[in-house]
């Protein structure tokens, strides 16, 4: 039924520094979650991305949000009907982008 989605989530979670990944539908309900992430954050994650989208109402590219906490960071993107949330831990080997 949703094996393909599970596969995607599994693949994301096994990537470097990634702690957990979650996907929400257009109602803010969790479609699937893998790793160390609470499915209840789906609604709030989507709410955050909707607020951020208001900053650039004319932008056609979906905004990516990055929230930093002490040891982890949370990356959110809402693209069309679905919202993705990825938790990552303090990076060990990533290279910082110039902007």
């Amino acid at each position: 039924m949703e094996q393909q989605l599970e596969k995607v989530l599994n693949e994301i979670v096994t990537q470097q520094d990634t702690v957990g990944a979650l996907l929400a539908n257009r109602q803010g309900l969790c479609l699937g979650a893998k790793g160390n992430i609470n499915p209840n954050v789906s609604g709030i994650g989507m709410a955050i991305s909707e607020q951020v989208a208001k900053l650039e109402p004319n932008s056609s590219v979906p905004a990516t949000i990055c929230l930093y906490s002490g040891s982890k960071r949370c990356v959110i993107q809402k693209d069309g009907e679905i919202t993705g949330i990825i938790y990552k831990q303090a990076t060990t080997g990533s290279t910082a982008a110039s902007n």
């Binding site: 929400a24 257009r26 109602q27 803010g28 309900l29 969790c30 209840n40 954050v41 789906s42 609604g43 709030i44 989507m46 709410a47 909707e50």
Partner: protein, 126 residues
């Protein structure tokens, strides 16, 4: 003094875009607290006397399906969505737009739990 709690629930109401009404009633639909969006006048059906008792019965019956006690019922209508939570002796009702963020409404649950404990006493104490 209950202004404080009203203010708090009003704050919650405005946190979720598209949420019109938060209502706390007893199991027969007698309201204890109700906050609503001032602009939205057409959501009085949340006060419809049969809405809450019907939820209570439906939740009762749904608890017998063998999946454990029923906690929440989400009803989607063409113009509204209604999220009702079984917090007996209280019933917590949210009414929002049909495209409102359901996940966000559900996430409010644990934020109000502490306040519900206080309100519960008004229904149970004799």
């Amino acid at each position: 003094m209950s202004d404080d709690i009203k203010k708090y629930f009003n704050g919650l109401l405005h946190k979720v875009s598209g949420l019109y009404v938060i209502q706390i009633t007893d199991r027969d639909g007698v309201p204890l607290l109700r906050v609503s969006h001032s602009q939205e006048k057409n959501v009085d059906f949340a006060l419809m006397p049969s809405l809450i008792p019907t939820f209570t019965t439906a939740s009762d019956q749904a608890s017998k399906l063998g999946l454990g006690r029923n906690k929440t019922i989400i009803s989607m209508y063409s113009n509204y969505q209604v999220v009702q939570m079984n917090k007996l002796p209280l019933i917590l009702t949210f009414v929002g737009a049909e495209d409102c963020n359901t996940g966000h409404i559900l996430a409010l649950e644990h934020q109000v739990d502490g306040y519900l404990e206080d309100i519960k006493m008004a229904v149970t104490e004799s």
